[in-house]
Symmetry: C2
Subunit: 362 residues, 2 copies
Amino acid sequence: MKFEYYNPTRLIFAAGALARLGEVASQHGKRALLVTGGGSVKRSGVFDRAVASLKLAGVSTVECSGVEPNPRITTVRRGARIARDEGCDVIIALGGGSTMDAAKVMAAAFYYDGDPWDMIYHGQPKPYVPTRALPVITVPTLAATGSEMNMGSVISNEETKEKSFVQAKCLYPVIALVDPELTMSVPQDQTAYGICDIITHVTEGYFNGVDGTPIQDRFAEGVILTAMEYGLKALEDGTNLDARAQVQWASIVALNGWVNAGTNGGFPVHMIEHTLSAYHDITHGAGLSVVNPAWMRFAARHRPEKFVQFAQRIFGLKGKGPDDLACAMEGIDRFEGFLRSTGCDPPVRAEDWGRAYDTICQ
Amino acid sequence: MKFEYYNPTRLIFAAGALARLGEVASQHGKRALLVTGGGSVKRSGVFDRAVASLKLAGVSTVECSGVEPNPRITTVRRGARIARDEGCDVIIALGGGSTMDAAKVMAAAFYYDGDPWDMIYHGQPKPYVPTRALPVITVPTLAATGSEMNMGSVISNEETKEKSFVQAKCLYPVIALVDPELTMSVPQDQTAYGICDIITHVTEGYFNGVDGTPIQDRFAEGVILTAMEYGLKALEDGTNLDARAQVQWASIVALNGWVNAGTNGGFPVHMIEHTLSAYHDITHGAGLSVVNPAWMRFAARHRPEKFVQFAQRIFGLKGKGPDDLACAMEGIDRFEGFLRSTGCDPPVRAEDWGRAYDTICQ
């Protein structure tokens, strides 16, 4: 194990925490750019409550709405322009992962005279890594990407059909204000995709990381077991606040560095899915639900011991030894069965998925 | 679950990381106060290697040696005076938990005109909570207290026979430079006490925290299982670098906020032990090895379900239900048996411990 870890985001986690938005935002700015998605925060009243809390604390607001499910670089450019034109000094993301990701890059683009697409790694020899950004406060309304407490962002370029990422220290939110009550109105399909996203964040490090990470393995298994148990409860009753809170907490720890620190693995499943959704514009978690089990079946043949451990510790299967591929495959079947039980049916044309699936499994 | 979490310490974890001390220290200062303990870092050559690395990076040093196993406020006063007199701008703790704890309070005392004992909570109506401190870099040579990556410090007052703590944001080390190679020369008894300390840090939140923390429970169990498995390996062969690394990593995550976030529990076992060692000046982990099982037997009767879970998940026992006190007690017996197997025999007079034990168990 050899690694570095750093995460300075202050996390405030509590049902009802939205009421504190004004108080915490006023510690960082006087004029906020409120970044939002497709309108659900308006319909649910969350937007009005946020604005009221900010107003009460003396923080004025200007809005950048309409961030897409796969947030586009054109939207990032638009948001950064609004922030500059309106003299914003803090950015508040009120929404799901796409909203938070877009807000982070807007915050860095505020100080960058070039095109923000320069920051997103897309094969250019030397991406521009931002070193300065407006303070960002994340207020997630969906448990999925973990973007609320990390320094990553994934942005799509609709013109070039590219979807890729940026990671930079200045992109850590100053505050993650996490109110699990806000996720209670998330519909079943998005809840299910979120659960798949959470689990995939930790399976990446679990299966792709270096050997000899027993604590990280246990942490990852803890996230998976909890996301499965409470995910099903949240799907059964979306107003189950405890279930929503546990899934939200799982989403945070799955990708804030705690579980993957020292695993030093890549994110192949995410990379494959990003490519697919750059073309098909599907929900990230839905794509992962197809890609991850397929990738696991491929990878298990090369590293069966990790998949046997997964089968044993997650599903209680009895393996005959670290090379018991049948046990490994049974664990993957069970995992895919779990995903299907949540309703993770990819919402795209079957022939598209057939081709994608065939390509991955060849 | 309702909580806040914040930890801005940058962690560098690698075998051989000591060689980077100069490089990272030079980012924070030009003249370092090197805080050390009883001389083992001199005998092992670690001190000379640290000074050489600092010199190479242009960081001059002045030393405050002789920090006691239970660090004393007199030593804190002495260190702060040296730092002021010598114009230090960074403090480096090179040693175990006591060295790191003393260094933190010296760093805050540097800016405080009053007596640093004001900062240590000892029943005064309003302790002085420091808001400013010199940057501290921790370089642990022992896996135990987790002080390398948290904002806590425990200090003793030999005159008043008090041992208590301070917690303040300004006490977070700027960098934890963790090189598990440095723990390879730790003798067996101190290794064993460290393992007990690590496990007790997570059992505090596990048994005393609020209900409904499934992820934290799994994280705690992961730390316990890993500390037990790799702790025994480190005891068997102190030069087993992988075992030392896993135990070191366990010590960090046990008390950097990751496992206890949201459990919102007290630290009764630590509080009892602090009182005992304030009088008997014994090693903290040795005291915990007596207090923790005794306390667990007391607490199990009031909250059996958590102890049944512990027995099941740590020792694989079969419980008949959440109220199966026999199963809970069997788990505690097994745990105490594990501690004894590590050699955690309290190095104090038997009659003292007898009295203490009797008091706790009444």
